[in-house]
Point group: C2
Amino acid sequence: MKISCSKQALMNGINIVSKAVSTKSTMTNLQCILIESSLSEIRLIANDIELGIETIIEGTIVEAGKIALDAKLLSDYIRKLPDSEVTIETNANNIANIRCERSKFNIHGTSGDDFNYLPEVEKNRYISLSQFTLKEVIRQTIFSISSQENTKIMTGELFEVSGNYLRVVSLDGHRISIRKVELKESYDSMKVIIPGKTLNDISKILNGGADDEVLLYVTDRHILFEFENTKVVSRLLEGEFYKIDQMLSNDYETKFTINKKEFFDCIDRSTLLISESDKKPIIMNIENSSIYLKIDSSRGDSMNEEIEIKKEGKDLRIGFNPKFLMDALRVIDDEEVDIYMVNAKSPCFIRNADNSYIYLILPVSIAA
Amino acid sequence: MKISCSKQALMNGINIVSKAVSTKSTMTNLQCILIESSLSEIRLIANDIELGIETIIEGTIVEAGKIALDAKLLSDYIRKLPDSEVTIETNANNIANIRCERSKFNIHGTSGDDFNYLPEVEKNRYISLSQFTLKEVIRQTIFSISSQENTKIMTGELFEVSGNYLRVVSLDGHRISIRKVELKESYDSMKVIIPGKTLNDISKILNGGADDEVLLYVTDRHILFEFENTKVVSRLLEGEFYKIDQMLSNDYETKFTINKKEFFDCIDRSTLLISESDKKPIIMNIENSSIYLKIDSSRGDSMNEEIEIKKEGKDLRIGFNPKFLMDALRVIDDEEVDIYMVNAKSPCFIRNADNSYIYLILPVSIAA
């Protein structure tokens, strides 16, 4: 193989596929990037079995061929090169000679004959989204996946299509995050559970453009994301997702509207008096047209804040893990949020009028 | 005490004095900031015995007084407040009531009666520098202090004034860094060794303005830096600094001029093939009008680079710890640097024509 391309194009490609390079495995190929050139295109591929990524980079092809190179060494080396043309030439011993201006490196690689290519994904079922929307729905739900491997399904997110709506759901046993977005067309119903790691990685690769499209193809076992010159294939999580509809409810006894930033900042300050080890909840008193947050720390320091609200229904005293409230408030872009509660033991809902976002958070039981 | 000031002014003051808050000590006062208000000014003070910092902040004084508050809690809390007026009021039980808009915090403090004020520093001997110059000379020398506490003097830097010149020297047994700057006036000779930690901290507090002055007052045991509304007092390191003049020499057998960026980038790339554990030197062949860097890694990868130079004198093959070369090249602002060598076992000098900077680096012995 002999190819040349700009340092920038090569570096971009390496950055994209590196998300699928295993950092733990000792199986050499999982730590490598395959550079493969046909007579018409140069592809970079990495695959750690859970996740595979392939991207096409622009360049000049002198001779077709392929080589698998250590991803870390390749990436570090290319990053340190001047912004100039890079030439990669391989020999029969699978040594890659990489040249850029006066720099010359010889790196041992492998033939790539036993490299794990991306699995073929049948393109029967798909949906189309903008990069912006996909990136946003991930950001607005990913924080409430579980990190506990023993509840495998909670480490992923449900992507559920019905008609022209996509609903994305994550939950961790204490809270549920739901985003619903309208699609440009209607599709056949589908339900898949995508690993959280895949979504985090995809989110970093997407440029987030509102006019740039991503196609999501699904089969029973895999999902393929296609955008620009890149393909990402991930295994799906197997199993049945939790039946969340029966946990949702529109009933409430107390509803209030609050300035999101004031509420967030106030909870944020309150955490200064709650040490991690305490696991003390933040207690709110919702009374008339105010919410009072009062905290006494074990050291004897105290906080006492009041925020004006627009309230309907009963007064209420309720306790929460402050982190859960902050996680949800942080990703809501509205200036004012509506919060619905039933009593001190029932879940609270932060949601907007058309339910395009719903954050369900369980309260923490507090002494009466 | 009752004072009020803008959140911004208070936060800036806290950030400045926090550099002198002990993070390790369990002696309460060393982890506190003293807020002290006379009828005319509000001062913040912190002092960890090695280093003491005092700064005056603007604000309104309602009642004079003082209180010592936990630095971390105070700093975290003020940071999380809205950009608005902050009022601090203390009561007879040494509780500080801090209010900002609707936020109210009560923090337990101590009276501050046993707080360690900054030591008095006699203002007989001093020099004046711009903040820019002080920040620059620190940046250009601080990397070669030693971190080994058993050679205490090497953990500091020599500041030596003679006539209208200040010379700053640091060394760690493998290399010496020297910066010489011209002062606006002549001063009596002086020689002090300032702890590296103090210089690092000062450097972070200085705004670095070329028109902003810093006054350095020295006594036998202390140095006082005075600038804007801030005073920093540090203990000096005791003892005799190394006699470095006898290690310097203008003799050379090989001299070359090289593009700094090309040289730096090339050494930087070479480190990819030298694993930390190897402690392998980078070997250079200086031949005619080129310098060749050739490295073979234990894995069998190799690098081969050539950089054009302007050379005087003999050819030479010499080895270095790449980090030492990179540390010096990184802080030199010139586009081209002059490097002087004698043989493969004698120190190399990177210095400019007027010796305003001199970096001495010992080579690593290599097989012939």
